[in-house]
Symmetry: C2
Subunit: 509 residues, 2 copies
């Protein structure tokens, strides 16, 4: 069928064309079917139909398809019904809990990266992954397919060290300490990180306060080879690009299928050729891992997958029920991290955790003897070598190496949330802390966030500030405060939980 083209100047994340219903009937295709367009090259596209958006004889073409045509293409194209996507058949197999082959998985991942799956297919893939999971073989193939469909980096320096934290803990700024500690001891650690999607700041959002974070894979290599470490946003490289596309379905469904989570973590590490990897697995309410038992299973699966990929993996199951350090939000967190680097001052939870994780890497990389890694990490912080290395990294990434923690601007609009009674902080909801920081503007407003004065179990007096909320815009501060007051994320009570009246005990009545 010959059809004129009408360009819809909209990217919709999939290769889609819009038929007039009459043309679709004539061609015998339905919404969700595939067609091939033969212009100067042959393009596959997903069919949608409309009664009135395009006239009969005309094909509406969204930007993803249009970009495959020669610039200024205005001739009609020949349109043919095409076979169903083979990925569709693979997704159906998954729904039916049949085993997939290596080829099956490569086909789907390839179509994900090429935006050849419709949202409906992508969602079915993620839903079936969530419900049925995958075998060890399938997860390995998924990981390898995610590596192979993106950029990879081959470093000249070895071993390549890396670190990953499973999300879910507010204020988990430890990469800003771990990376310079490790690099200061002569081990190369080219760390790619994510931006926050539901959090108040990912490592990339934090580092962006200090320097550029968007680099190509080649630039990441150059920076790392030069100064021994990098702290960059993975999304700017083309490393494991499938991952970002899958989030398109995961995020709206509020799911993070276990097999996809394993593959996503390990693909990013595999693509940069990581040889020694430490993974921080925070556990507890509000994190992605409910308890230590689940954390151990997760650790075993990560270590096993690493083994299949030729990667040496160690995991640290960490306490995740409370924020790390006392700040949440990009600028506040960076201040806290820099202060710890500069003067070895700061919350125990931040320094202890960072040194413990860095210590494991120092041992894995041979920079410290077994059981002496943490000691070396603490020493590297104390003697200023980690801070000096951090300055080198900041400079290599185009930032100001002489930045001082107190120079970093934070939101000018602040308010305290205070204890309503004497007592102890007995409940502390991580998710609400993040929500308040987000409502105040984090992570987009770098200066927005929350400073935590009192953590779980600490004693407070009536009127003591428990949190300070920071915002760059007054209306965002107001919104955050309204939510903070309504939701009451922190409960203060005296240690006496309930007073039982003495004298007579009555039943009923």
């Amino acid at each position: 069928m010959q059809l004129k083209l009408q360009h819809f100047d909209i990217k919709i994340g999939q290769h889609k064309v819009m038929f007039n219903t009459a043309d679709a009937k004539e061609l015998g295709v339905n919404p969700g079917d595939r067609v091939r367009l033969r212009g100067h090259e042959s393009i596959s596209a997903i069919v949608d139909t409309t009664e009135d958006m395009v006239e009969q004889g005309t094909l509406g073409v969204f930007t993803e398809v249009y970009e495959h045509l020669e610039p200024g293409w205005d001739k009609p194209v020949e349109v043919f019904p095409a076979l169903r996507s083979k990925s569709g058949a693979v997704i159906k197999k998954m729904m039916d809990k049949q085993h997939l082959t290596r080829e099956d998985i490569y086909m789907v991942v390839n179509d994900v990266v090429e935006e050849n799956l419709s949202d409906i297919e992508l969602s079915a893939f993620m839903t079936a992954s969530y419900i049925h999971g995958m075998s060890d073989d399938e997860i390995e193939w998924l990981t390898r397919a995610m590596i192979d469909t993106g950029d990879t980096i081959e470093f000249d320096t070895h071993p390549v060290m890396d670190k990953h934290s499973i999300g879910g803990v507010p204020g988990n700024k430890i990469s800003l300490l771990v990376v310079p500690i490790v690099a200061a001891n002569g081990l190369m650690i080219p760390k790619t990180s994510s931006r926050a999607i539901t959090g108040a700041g990912g490592t990339a959002d934090l580092m962006e306060v200090l320097s550029e974070v968007e680099f190509t894979s080649q630039e990441v290599k150059e920076i790392s080879e030069k100064v021994g470490g990098a702290l960059v946003w993975g999304g700017a490289t083309n490393i494991a690009p499938a991952d970002d596309k899958l989030i398109r379905a995961e995020y709206p469904l509020s799911i993070d299928p276990y097999c996809q989570m394993l593959a996503s973590i390990m693909a990013k590490k595999g693509a940069i050729g990581a040889e020694n990897l430490v993974i921080d697995i925070p556990t507890g309410p509000g994190t992605k891992v409910a308890n230590v038992q689940e954390g151990q299973k997760f650790a075993r699966d990560l270590i096993n997958l690493g083994h299949r990929l030729g990667m040496n993996v160690e995991c640290a199951i960490t306490y995740g029920s409370s924020p790390i350090g006392r700040t949440v939000g990009p600028a506040l967190e960076v201040r806290e991290a820099l202060k710890a680097l500069e003067s070895f001052e700061g919350p125990n939870s931040l320094i202890e955790k960072s040194a413990a994780l860095a210590g494991i890497l120092l041992e894995m990389g041979g920079a410290a003897p077994r059981d002496h890694g943490k000691e070396l990490a603490m020493e590297t912080l104390r003697n200023g070598k980690a801070f000096a290395k951090m300055k080198e990294i900041i400079e290599a990434q185009g930032g100001d190496p002489n930045v001082s923690p107190d120079d970093i601007p934070v939101g000018q609009y602040t308010a305290n949330i205070c204890a309503s009674a004497d007592g102890y902080v007995i409940e502390f909801d991580n998710k609400w802390i993040v929500e308040i920081a987000r409502l105040a503007g984090a992570p987009n407003d770098k200066g927005a966030g929350v400073r935590i004065h009192k953590k779980l179990g600490e004693a407070v007096k009536k009127g003591d500030p428990i949190l300070t909320v920071y915002a760059e815009k007054e209306f965002k501060l107001d919104t955050a405060l309204v939510t903070a007051q309504r939701s009451n994320p922190i409960v203060v009570e005296g240690m006496l939980l309930r007073r039982v009246p003495g004298g007579t005990f009555g039943f009923g009545g």
Copy 2:
């Protein structure tokens, strides 16, 4: 946040708006989140983001959302982040195999009908339905929700009779006989039907050869009350509109979740107040029901669901491995059906099956004593009363009551597919018959289709025509023939399956 509006003049089947990425960050929303727009009314919409399709400060608005604004609205709107859709939480529950409440199910169905679900959510709903299924309670609520979110018809005449065939058998034109037989005996049967999606012609596609088929619910009532029967396209009414929206996800995934299939059938019957319903369940390879055991389970579930809805249901498990009658494709099938009505001439499979199904309805409605329904149905065909009633229905629906089967035009381009050897038809693939009819142009080209000269088990001589393919367009005939030859859907062999050479019997070697 105040944003100017830019109208994208495209319907995309969901309430969606497009943010510039910077605005989305500033507002703290991600693709798949919900926002509320406050123009002259408050509208909920699904967020998508773009780097360059809309400028910062501008919101791209697709037609579904735009239509909620006053005509010509050109003022900015106030945009707020909104809570996640509650349906999203219900879909998550389904994925986790938790039981749903009545309210849960009504919420999702309502959002399906209102196009408040994204394709990603819709697909997850259908995928989870397919994998986990639903309890009897959930299926009942799903059915009731599908009824309550559309039009219903209350007839003055009772009982209301109805008939449904599960799909999958080519040439299943029996409604064209069943409806007039039943109506000719004084029972009202207002039959709504579907158009073919993957088939060569649904009852609505067939009836359209003879008359209009697109009527409102009110018109369906008037026609049925007047002449006792109707044969209309359900899609033109607003009866159980959720069903058509769900197909948007079912079709591309090639799934038809069992719970959704039950609900979809029964909702359409419940919405017109059917009191006595017969359901034809074709079984065998190529149909939706693999064998008689599955057919019996299906029958029990339909009868049980009917009972819950106050509907009297009987099921007929029928032979589905071979086409009904000898024609596939709208005009050819209508010719065959009219000929059977006019002169009681035609294939046994068509007349027998139609009379059997009609007979059950005649007994259920009290027009025939138990075990005498089929006899009465045959008599109604033989004495011309069914044909007379069919003419009344055609006329009531705006068609020509004096139509003669031979007047109905069929495709002018024809070709025979002939036996390559003497023998018997030992394989006959229903799906390929349908595929050939579709490639020849059915159901859109009414005159396209296939006439079957030899069915499974029949004897043929070399060169005998097995099929005749009809097309309205020569190139479609060619396409169909190429496929027919390549795929060889019909295998002819002599009865001697293998000749064992006599004399000596050797083992091995």
